[in-house]
Symmetry: C5
Subunit: 254 residues, 5 copies
């Protein structure tokens, strides 16, 4: 089951079934093997322990084949783990990304370049953009110490109804949002995946950082951005510590 | 229990009770037999595995006899499956479908036809419409790789109260919605069933597609349509991979 | 515990505890006996199987003595049944029923009668009204094939706050609602019971019909009525197939 | 743990764990003993069976020592009872009670008394008020056949934001509310306890009556009062039949 | 996992698994040891029994290392305790704290001081502020008899959208809030920790007091403050009695 564009993404959260775990001393190894096997099949998975009682253990799994991701999910179901939450999405491009025309206009008006210089700058821009788009649609997850995950939607209630705004207004608002995001470059890797029609919110947001303070700061700062202040609706927030799968299962007693 | 119009529809979602499943090696076969028996009795059923933890396994069952559907539901209850969600509805015609008068007016004003040519076009239209209506009230489910399901209602809160709009306004709004739907012809089969007074939302929406991106695209595009933007309220979204019943139960460890 | 006016009403919903049921082959008979014993004590009970996973089995029990109804509930608790939902209410008169003055005025202005003719018509009206009121406060449940149940409240949020309307406005609005209801005479038996202060919504609505389409049609049609469109808030909807108690328990594997 | 003013109040709701109860034939006696022991320590407790499936059994326990109330709660946790709901509050005076100045003004303007007569009336008023306040802060629960309990808050959403009203407006609104309450004197004993900062709503309301119709009537009548119509937000409603503890446990199979 | 600023904070709530506890006579000791070990590693923990059925037992644990806090959480997971709720946050400074410029202006306009006197007062102020900030970011929890905990967010819905206010307005509003808080100095110790992006609300509020009436009074009084009245959204409230860990586990039957 290969989507025509983008990869499938599963965020999977579990609590350990302690009684079953005691009777199943190989459970941890089976979980680690399931992750390794998924990765051997050309997919990726992050393992993390979760702070607080929403879950003990979490996985973010992604890759080209939804059927393979379902098989991973099913393999974890045979471990002494009780599902507590999950999220289903697909990687996707943003419809508000700058176009070449936007960039050409910006170069002319903001940087005052024309002619060959303009074209040369556009070649560089195209390359950077292709790289950015490729990362968004086929991301390579970096290994950071912390993970944050939350789903979100845009508000559809008067007087702040995102879906009644004109495209140009939405693009302008999202541009401000992206500017805040860029100030966290280096501190935060952010991956936004699409779930409209697939799960209960419209997007899933995954934040990876070495410092948990960065997870808090970026969400708080963006909350003052008009697009979040007026239009953001947020689901549950999960915070985890990313570990090697073998360490993660050991830390939760598998 | 045969409704005076339309067929009964049950969307049934389950998680596997792993301990019970281990003690019941014939459970998968019993589930497959239950589906086969339902179909032998003139009803239909789709089996699918569900992505994420809302369910492991799902069925969409429909047909003329509510008592037969309840028997199917009860047969599944004897398998090592724990119900996680369900939805009850009836197939129904839309009250906003174009009438013959609408079509005659449209032919005159938009296509400029009159007299015999007009009548000939109406004969074709009547036939196409009868076929469309028959499909809606007695659908034959095609086999696609993916299924999406969600229930929805129309908003009843000021200032966007669907039930205070005049019929003509509602018909116009639904017409725009239908136009978006038609652009997905071939990519998406959509079945809207009525559940007002029967279950917690007013309609159930089933989407069948070979490409999961289509499930995401159609729901997102419709969200910008005025009728969804101002009046759509959505329940939980389920996404599954449709399989032969025997494959589906095997994929979830039955 | 006999209320000073009206009967107690319990809507009770259960799922079967399959493991316990297997160890308890007489459970079905005990449930049937509990119903028979309740009815022998001058109360009524309907048994039904529920479509979808909100419940497997349901009962609507009513009669003069709340303590006897609690005993019935307790007897069912000894069966292998897990409660999934319930609703507590009392039968009651509507405060918006036409008064004799309303009817006299109506006869004069709409039918143009006066004097003896007017008085004769009022005698008939009084009799019909007494019968209607008696049915509402001491209902005899007819046996229909389907049952629908949902609780509801009137909205108390600006700008549509039912409890800030004048009595005359509420009476007029409820009159329109009743007119829709009367067009379903013969297709639907409706019983509205009061639960303000007793359970989480203000009323319980029980619909009995031989055709499930009628359950859907009446609720949808009323939704366009101003009193529902602006002021109706609805809880969960349950749909069941009414059966003899022995058939009902057999259908759910007891 | 003695609060500086008022008594602690616990509303505790349970369902019977039937399997555990069968293995524990002395459970009922232990529950009865726990109640007797609490009362021997200078606290009070009402036992009641609950209508519907929100709970089988409930207790309202109150008295000076929160640590003693926690011990009572813990003793019930050793019975085969599964907690289903609870509410934590403290008895408190109303901040909107008439002051002596209010009463003096009222006597002058409404009753036209002055001088010694006024002072004599104020002596009587002070005595009645002290008695009322003492009952509110150190209530002696009467034994009535029925109990109703629900938590509530005042709305804090524009345009009906209680916490933005001036004190005088709130006092006037609460006065109207109290007038409705007084018309139920004799039919209903009402105890309002404070839970702001202690549990999820701002107040707990306990209604005791011999006639369940009175529970329904008072809540419905108050709902039309401006203070409820515009500012009341209500939590779940519980309805029970008050019994001797030994009868209550027997009625639920302990 | 050491945050770049502030300490990690876990609020952990549990109910006792009675059956497992009976088979595990050393469970209480293990819990007490887990607390002692956490404190030996330079972290703090408060243990408390909870009033009502939201939990039996609770812990507030805080300190520099999130990985160490996760290990504490995991050690409690091996006790016969079922998690019922939790909250994840970080200690943080308030962004609305007075700056030195604010204080200098205040000293000039309100106290009329200048020159050396002004500078001397600022030295004292800087010292007091540093102490306050240090307490907020690295708090030493005092031992009080009662604990209250609730999470909260600022409203983001028109017309009361905190995140659309200018910084100066937010600072003024928070100043009024702080003034109410200061009137409870001595009666209440309050610790506000940040959870935006980490858990479902924006802040966690922990109140410690010897008198439970103080928990109720401060929350009620603040509710009339404009910042709460218009912008406060509150999650669940937990109330507990703080005890030595050994006493706490004994009080809940471990």
């Amino acid at each position: 089951m290969i989507p025509s564009e983008g990869w499938g993404v599963l965020h999977l959260f579990y609590e350990v079934d302690r009684d079953a775990a005691e009777r199943d001393p190989n459970a941890g190894k089976r979980v680690v093997d399931a992750v390794a096997s998924l990765e051997a099949d050309g997919h990726q998975a992050l393992a993390f322990v979760v702070l607080g009682h929403k879950a003990d253990l979490g996985f973010m799994a992604l890759g080209p084949d939804l059927a393979r991701l379902q098989r991973f999910q099913q393999e974890l179901r045979t471990a002494p783990l009780r599902p507590t939450y999950s999220y289903v999405s697909l990687t996707e491009l943003s419809e508000y990304t700058s176009t070449e025309d936007d960039e050409r206009a910006r170069l002319r008006t903001e940087e005052g370049v024309e002619g060959d210089e303009l074209e040369a700058k556009l070649v560089v821009w195209r390359d950077r953009m292709a790289h950015y788009q490729e990362h968004r649609i086929h991301p390579q997850l970096p290994r950071k110490a912390c993970i944050g995950f939350y789903p979100m939607s845009k508000r559809r209630v008067a007087p702040d109804n995102w879906y009644e705004l004109a495209f140009a207004d939405r693009k302008r608002l999202m541009g401000g949002h992206a500017r805040v995001g860029r100030t966290y470059a280096g501190r935060i890797v952010q991956l936004i995946t699409g779930s409209t029609g697939l799960d209960d919110w419209e997007w899933g947001v995954t934040l990876l950082a070495d410092d948990p303070v960065a997870l808090k700061d970026i969400v708080m700062e963006m909350r003052f951005d008009e697009v979040s202040a007026r239009f953001g609706e947020f689901g549950p927030f999960y915070t985890g510590l990313v570990l090697d799968p073998a360490d993660a299962v050991a830390r939760v007693g598998l």
